[in-house]
């Protein structure tokens, strides 16, 4: 199970690697990282069938998370990977837009890692 995390903050990689250190160690989960929408698309193109879940920030320079979501849902029709979006606190506008574009789930900043871990485990076991 490979999870692609998309965020323009580079330290997000260290953070995820430490938060999920047990899961990574136990080969329960595998993470890949992209630091822009463009980078994420390139990665998915290269590893089309590996990526099961994408976790993306919305506010990024260049291609925004919403554009990325739209492209993934349109381009990779069979079957599209699960996409979870991370929105800023109280940003209902982006929330609605993401639903409209077919986002599978949401997280609000600051990310609650206990909740995220449960959600990921649930998805994996389903």
């Amino acid at each position: 199970m490979k999870i692609l995390v998309v965020d323009d903050e580079k330290d997000i990689q260290t953070l995820f690697e430490q938060r999920f250190r047990r899961e990574i160690k136990g080969h329960e989960m595998e993470f890949a990282f992209a630091f822009s929408g463009e980078e994420a698309l390139a990665y998915i193109n290269k590893h089309e069938h590996e990526v099961v879940l994408i976790l993306s920030d919305i506010n990024m320079p260049g291609m925004s998370g919403l554009v990325l979501l739209e492209k993934i849902k349109h381009l990779y029709a069979v079957p599209p990977p699960i996409v979870m979006m991370i929105t800023a606190y109280g940003d209902s506008e982006n929330y609605n837009k993401a639903i409209q574009l077919g986002a599978d789930d949401f997280l609000t900043k600051p990310v609650d890692f206990v909740l995220l871990k449960e959600k990921l485990k649930h998805i994996i076991h389903v």
Binding site: E9, D11, T14, L15, A88, V111
Partner: protein, 801 residues
């Protein structure tokens, strides 16, 4: 044919006078000895107690150039006088010789004048006597012997045969005008000049009119009636141009430039001075050149254009030195020295001002001495050598003691001295000097307001005058018609004429009353406007703070999330490490401790990031300290580009645009801080924020209508530009967007106050106007804009290094 005698008043103004002499067509300049004469001092202190210019430099300087020319002339005249066959021819020639002498030695000119007068009276030679007496009167005026001048003029009024040559009587009136003008009695001076103008206009003596107009203007200028002064100077200039009299034109241009400077139109003043210099060189009028250089140097000092201040100061010093006038040389060297110091050439500045002090001390003129010492104070002050600066400032004020006059920049000197005392811990003296500086600043500001009001009312008055002129022309037509009818009905004529005249008179009176009322209204409106402007500038500052806050909140959220996350994880990791230690797995424990260390570094990094953001915000809201500090301009561009970007993104969720930075590495400071530039961080930050906000606004607007392919982009570039042939090195900041662009018809207006294209309530319209002031006035830089509709806009800021 006239001789034109000139000398300079406050701020190097010329008075012309004309004396007509048969068969003689020379124009020469007249100068007074270089000491401040008592009447000139009075003249100044009465009218301009505050912004007195260093005026003593203007009385003397024509002597050398004139002397050179006049000596040749005297030689040839002496030969002709020796060969003269008749008494009348000899008297005429001696009169010419007196004209030439006037520019070299007033006392001998008067002595020979009296002798020639006696001789002409002995042989009853009308023209000879008239010319001799006319010259005597003018020379007495310049000498300051007004009683003798008045006696001669009164005699001439009776002596001149009525109707014989009206140009003689006009010369008498001009000389009266001169006599009163020199004594600052402008009402009387004006009355006589108007009489002379009347005669000259009626008879078409245009060669005299331009200098008449010029002298009338001086009276108006000195009494603060700038619109009238301008009107007469422009009239005189037009006439001189028409007659191709480049000499008169040059003198008029210098005086006109002074008026422009008085009403605050420095651009026109600069142009007029430069044109005067050109003509002065062409016609070999060294005095015009000298006064223009001196005044230009002061003008550029006010504009803080130091290279030009230096250039013209040195030119004036050189010319002044050539004339043997130490006063003008010292004053000009002082200005040049301050200009050097402002370009950080301190050693050269000190050396130059030492010369100025030596010269000034020997000249024994208080304004001169004060200026030279104040300059040295300023040179040390600029180097932050406060203790050294204090004695020079004090000496400068000491020189002015008891003379109740202020030199240019005196207020500033008090301010700087106050700061010197403050920095060296002498607070009571700092406060005392600060109070004096504040008093002077207040009184300058009052004058400034009056001047602005004048400027505003000028346009209005001009229109009114045109109306009155039109009305008068109409009236004259009516009179002409009435006259024809009157041939038939004689008695009715007088009645109608009287009525028309009365009507005209009443009309004029009404117009005058209206004019006065309107002027008062304009002044009141101006005061209100100024108060409103101060408030608006404050609200612009607050508005830009509000824009920043949204961006800052977003910016600060990310680092805080990292701090929280990494500290939580580290806590867990320590528990895990302890478990491993208890189990004896030291390698595992070591590896965990590495992670903890890494996390602590991350916490520290993001904590600092948040700290920097908060500091930036505080800096923005802090009161303007007007201080320039060494600044990393690349970091500043980066910071404000981000603040603007996140600020807009926080406000508008649909906002999307790319930002790009292209920074010149030579501007990124090294470990010792080389590469930083001296700017007011907060002010330049405000300018950048404003331009970035506009750029993002433009690309967002375009994004609303452009197709899918449109990629909104805002980019900033810095570049250090090496100095070109003596010019200063500078930094160029280019801010580019690919938004909608600015339509051609408004691109010229965007720096005007209150101009905005944003919907009401969204912009104060002061942002770019403030930016313009900050860049050009406070930093001596330049800001320009290039825009193509539909393609985007480029702002270019240039800052001297």
């Amino acid at each position: 044919m006239f001789s034109c005698e000139i000398f300079a008043l406050e701020k190097n103004i010329y008075i012309h006078t004309q004396v007509t002499i048969h068969n003689e067509n020379i124009c020469f300049a007249f100068g007074l000895p270089s000491q401040l004469s008592p009447r000139m001092t009075k003249f100044k202190t009465m009218l301009f107690p505050v912004r007195l210019k260093i005026s003593f430099l203007v009385f003397c300087t024509v002597l050398v150039c004139a002397t050179h020319a006049q000596n040749n002339k005297l030689d040839s005249l002496n030969q002709l006088i020796a060969k003269a066959k008749t008494d009348t021819a000899r008297i005429n020639l001696i009169n010419k010789r007196i004209s030439a002498l006037s520019t070299i030695n007033l006392d001998s000119a008067i002595y020979y004048g009296l002798q020639n007068l006696k001789e002409a009276q002995r042989i009853k030679f009308y023209r000879g006597e008239l010319n001799a007496r006319m010259k005597l009167a003018a020379n007495y005026c310049f000498k300051g012997n007004y009683d003798a001048a008045r006696e001669d003029l009164a005699y001439l009024e009776k002596f001149i045969i009525p109707g014989k040559d009206s140009s003689d009587i006009s010369d008498v009136y001009s000389n009266y005008g001169l006599m009163y003008g020199i004594q600052s009695k402008y009402d009387s001076s004006l009355k006589f000049y108007e009489k002379a103008v009347g005669i000259n206009e009626r008879n078409g003596y245009t060669d005299k009119l331009s200098s008449n107009y010029s002298n009338i203007a001086i009276g108006y200028q000195q009494t603060g009636n700038y619109p009238m002064a301008l009107q007469y100077q422009q009239k005189g200039l037009k006439l001189a141009e028409k007659r191709n009299d480049e000499t008169d034109e040059a003198y008029l241009l210098v005086n006109l430039a002074n008026t422009y400077e008085d009403i605050g139109d420095t651009l026109k003043a600069e142009q007029a001075y430069l044109k005067a210099v050109k003509l002065g060189i062409k016609k070999d009028l060294k005095n015009v050149e000298l006064y223009a250089y001196t005044n230009l140097s002061s003008l550029y000092t006010n504009l803080k254009k130091w290279e030009k201040t230096y250039e013209f100061g040195m030119k004036a010093a050189e010319l002044g030195g050539a004339f043997g006038d130490q006063g003008i040389k010292a004053a000009s060297l002082s200005k040049a020295a301050v200009a050097l110091a402002n370009q950080n050439k301190f050693e050269e500045a000190v050396n130059l001002d030492r010369q100025a002090i030596l010269l000034a001390d020997s000249s024994n003129q208080p304004l001169n001495i004060s200026q030279a010492y104040a300059a040295m104070g300023a040179i040390f002050f600029l180097q932050k050598k406060y203790t050294e600066a204090i004695p020079f400032y004090e000496k400068n004020f000491h020189a002015l003691k008891g003379s109740d006059i202020y030199g240019e920049g005196t207020g500033n000197s008090y301010k700087e001295l106050s700061e010197c005392y403050e920095k060296t811990g002498n607070y009571s003296k700092a406060l005392a000097n600060f109070k004096i500086a504040a008093d002077i600043a207040d009184s300058i500001k009052r004058r400034e307001n009056i001047r602005k009001a004048t400027e505003l009312s000028m346009n209005f008055e001009f229109e009114k005058k045109q109306e009155i002129q039109a009305a008068e022309k109409k009236k004259q037509d009516e009179i002409a018609q009435t006259k024809q009818t009157a041939l038939l009905v004689g008695l009715i004529l007088t009645a109608i004429l009287a009525l028309v005249a009365l009507n005209g008179y009443l009309h004029k009176q009404r117009a005058n009353r209206l004019l006065l009322l309107q002027q008062q209204k304009t002044e009141a409106a101006l005061a209100e406007l100024e108060a409103a402007q101060v408030q608006l500038i404050q609200s612009e500052k607050m508005a830009s703070l509000g824009e920043l806050t949204a961006g800052i909140a977003h910016e600060i959220q990310n680092p805080l999330n990292f701090v929280n996350n990494f500290s939580e994880i580290s806590n867990e990791l320590i528990d895990e490490m302890n478990e491993e230690l208890n189990d004896g797995n030291f390698d595992e424990a070591r590896s965990i401790s590495k992670n903890i260390k890494q996390n602590l570094e991350k916490i520290n990094h993001h904590g600092k990031r948040a700290d920097a953001i908060v500091k930036g915000m505080l800096m923005h809201s802090r009161k303007n300290t007007e201080e320039k500090t060494p600044t990393d301009i690349n970091a500043l561009c980066d910071e404000y580009l981000r603040l603007s970007y996140y600020g807009l993104r926080a406000k508008d969720k649909s906002f999307k645009a790319a930002k790009e930075l292209d920074m010149d590495d030579s501007l990124t400071p090294d470990a010792e801080g080389n590469g930083k530039i001296m700017i007011n961080r907060q002010d330049i930050g405000r300018v950048l924020l404003n331009i970035f906000n506009n750029a993002f606004y433009a690309v967002t607007e375009k994004g609303k209508t452009a197709g899918e392919d449109y990629k909104p982009l805002v980019s900033a570039q810095t570049k250090k530009i090496a100095p070109l042939q003596g010019a200063q090195a500078k930094v160029e900041i280019t801010i580019k967007d690919n938004g909608n662009g600015i339509p051609q018809n408004i691109v010229d207006k965007i720096f005007q106050p209150f101009f905005t294209t944003k919907p009401t309530g969204e912009g104060t319209g002061l942002g770019l106007s403030l930016a313009y002031d900050i860049i050009t006035k406070n930093h001596n830089g330049a800001i320009s804009v290039k825009s193509k509709e539909g393609e985007g806009t480029v702002f270019i800021i240039e800052l001297p290094v």
